[in-house]
């Protein structure tokens, strides 16, 4: 068969370079941002910029360079975080950031692998991966930006949407309760569990920087305003109003049992660092139990051969 194609327009390396030179360096965090990727796609008033900044601040605080990190994202507004960070970044399929990151972290155990994704991505389509990675205690830092809805697709109900809340697919209010994410992460086996809102950037920086010192599966939930998808139908005002709302409704209770962190529409939001424990991560356990046994057996065999 004959194939007729349109003429290809080649990649213009010079134009791409010129665009980078024009803009890159203007932002105070440009060292950590991928050249030529800003401006971002997020709505005015969105909380994602705050969470991204707190991640960068945490890296700074811990003197961690971009070469020591990799970020893996799923799909959605938070899924776009990966593309803005100037390090090795992987924007994977919907819900699959954690299993992709599991492979990456096991292949490159010296890297700090962070999964940055949204509540829908991590807890609906990716829920099973999330609980199993926590159970295995894979050395991953999961940062879940929770905006209580699917923002990218225009504000549909999510596994975190509180009972009664309105979204584009729950126009008469949500008939289901939402997940209590810290409780779920804790029950599944995470060694570090914290929740803050974007009203608490200092605490977020503190928690994220603490996770850089942990080996194993850590979970930080960052509650973020989504004025477009969630704030408007639930009459929470503009982005700033929604952030203030979360701030005012927060109750800091470090060390609280994660079961107390249930969220209700217009109810209080328990925030804090809930869990900070230690147990061997997947690779430590695999190496000490499996690899050492397998290799000891090999040595034994060799001894027999020599004898």
């Amino acid at each position: 068969m004959k194939v007729r194609l349109r003429e290809l327009q080649p990649f213009d390396k010079e134009a791409a370079e010129a665009a980078i030179k024009h803009d890159h360096g203007l932002h105070p965090h440009d060292e950590y941002l991928k050249p030529g990727r800003i401006p971002h796609i997020w709505c005015p008033g969105c909380g994602l910029g705050v969470v991204l900044t707190t991640f960068i601040e945490a890296m700074r605080r811990k003197n961690i360079t971009p070469d020591q990190c990799a970020v893996v994202s799923g799909i959605g507004c938070t899924g776009r975080v990966a593309g803005y960070l100037n390090m090795d970044t992987y924007h994977t399929t919907h819900g699959r950031a954690i299993p992709f990151a599991t492979g990456l972290a096991l292949a490159k155990p010296d890297l700090h692998v962070t999964v940055f994704s949204g509540d829908g991505d991590l807890f609906a389509i990716g829920g099973n991966h999330m609980i199993h990675a926590a159970r295995r205690n894979v050395n991953l830092k999961v940062i879940c930006v929770n905006n209580f809805n699917y923002g990218m697709t225009g504000g549909q109900v999510a596994p975190t949407t509180p009972l009664g809340a309105k979204t584009s697919t729950t126009p008469r209010g949500n008939a289901e309760p939402g997940f209590n994410l810290p409780h779920l992460a804790h029950a599944a086996g995470a060694v570090y569990v914290a929740r803050w809102t974007t009203f608490h950037p200092r605490q977020l920086v503190h928690s994220i920087s603490q996770t850089f010192d942990k080996t194993g599966f850590t979970f930080v939930e960052a509650i973020a305003p989504c004025p477009t998808g969630y704030g408007r139908p639930n009459k929470l005002g503009a982005g700033l109003d929604e952030m203030k709302f979360y701030g005012e409704h927060s109750e800091i209770r470090n060390g609280a049992p994660p079961g107390d962190a249930e969220i209700e529409l217009r109810g209080k939001i328990v925030v804090g660092t809930f869990i900070d424990v230690d147990r061997p991560d997947f690779l430590t356990s695999y190496n000490s139990r499996i690899v050492s046994a397998a290799q000891a057996k090999g040595k034994q065999k060799e001894k027999v051969k020599i004898a």
Partner: protein, 382 residues
């Protein structure tokens, strides 16, 4: 190290074990999988062998996660593989697409069983051949190899790793239950006699590296996480830097690159076993376990003096279209036995362009053809 990664010597093992040993010999050091009949033995062998040779085996929560994990490990600079059968292969399709779009080398072994759905878990099928080609959404190039023996399970798994590194994409080993569970002699050659393609890493300055550039119909070298190139890897349509660009212009470049790297190199990739084609009036075309029976039928017919040819597809994809096109005007018919209701037979019919008859000898799964029924079918054209 006390344990050997390449078990040089003669072995009496089944095809599943040979796939695992082929992977290890090719340098695979990461396996993520999920139990499924009749492919479980591949995972079991890997679970035992990988920790002996410094690798990692992980049993994931499902095949979706297995496929995602081997892509992640591959970007971590480790050769990786998974194995499955029909239902798991269906689940893997999503991240196979991600592997194609992000040009990530890895190997997926499919020990085919009867389908659709749960079908015949313990019995043979060959009905995933078109799924391998078209199963994930969107356009991409496909490489699929079909071993006919445990020996080939070893050889072709090594070869699949090599092709996956050269063309930077997931490569399929499309075995079947009969070949996977068949125990035969497998000769593993010494290391120096094995061709193993190692990954090409970039070594140019950061500003000159374009991880998704097409260089003469071949992919660019692949940077490993932490190597310092700060690569962005996305399943979105992306430019040569890996940056997402949602335009028709970039889509045109992106998709044509991932299709053309296979299409334009097809003749280099295609492998067939061809016997008696020069004077053949009827050509038996088969692959996998079916090719073993077809081979017997071919020999019986030749012994009786019939001008029959034998064409075994070692690569099912890319399909040897040029060969079929060239043969069609000078043969009477192609007889295609396969354990499905018509997959490769359609491809033969399409490329023969009406210049030769095509007969599909279809079995729905659960059993293999007999040489006698193939001889009988060929007899229609003699």
């Amino acid at each position: 190290m006390a344990h050997k990664d390449i078990l040089t010597g003669e072995h009496f093992i089944h095809g599943d074990a040979a796939c695992a040993e082929g992977g290890l010999a090719a340098g695979c050091r990461f396996f993520a999988g999920y139990p499924i009949t009749p492919a479980t033995e591949v995972a079991e062998r890997m679970a035992r062998r990988l920790p002996e040779v410094g690798g990692v085996y992980i049993q994931m929560e499902d095949e979706i996660a297995s496929m995602a994990a081997i892509l992640g490990a591959s970007w971590g600079g480790v050769k990786s593989m998974t194995s499955t059968s029909g239902p798991g292969f269906s689940l893997m399709m999503e991240n196979i697409g991600l592997g194609m779009m992000t040009e990530t080398p890895c190997v997926v072994v499919n020990i085919q069983r009867g389908g659709p759905s749960t079908g015949l878990p313990t019995l043979v099928g060959q009905a995933d051949i078109m799924q391998a080609r078209w199963g994930s959404h969107g356009d991409y190039g496909c490489i699929a190899l079909a071993p006919s023996s445990p020996q080939e399970c070893f050889d072709l798994t090594v070869h699949a790793f090599n092709l996956s590194e050269i063309y930077r994409q997931p490569v399929f080993v499309m075995a079947d239950e009969v070949v996977g569970h068949m125990t035969e002699k497998v000769v593993i050659p010494p290391r120096r006699e094995l061709t193993v393609v190692e990954r090409t890493y970039p070594n140019m300055p950061k500003n000159d590296y374009f991880p998704f550039e097409s260089t003469g119909s071949l992919p660019a070298p692949m940077a490993t996480a932490g190597q310092g190139y700060n690569v962005h890897v996305t399943g979105l349509t992306h430019d040569e830097r890996g940056y997402p660009v949602i335009t028709d212009i970039v889509q045109e470049r992106n998709v044509r690159h991932i299709v053309d790297k296979i299409r334009k190199n097809a003749e280099k990739i295609i492998r067939v076993e061809a016997i008696g084609l020069t004077d053949a009036e009827v050509v038996l075309t088969a692959y996998g376990c079916t090719a073993r029976v077809a081979r017997q039928a071919f020999e019986n017919l030749r012994d009786r003096g019939h001008k029959v040819g034998f064409l075994r597809l070692i690569t099912v994809w890319p399909f040897p279209s040029n060969l079929i096109r060239e043969l069609a005007p000078r043969v009477r018919a192609f007889v295609v036995p396969e354990i499905n209701y018509g997959q490769v037979a359609y491809e033969v019919e399409r490329t023969a362009q009406g210049k030769a008859e095509v007969m599909l000898m279809a079995l729905m799964g659960g059993s293999i053809h007999t040489p006698e029924e193939i001889e009988d079918a060929v007899g229609e054209y003699l």
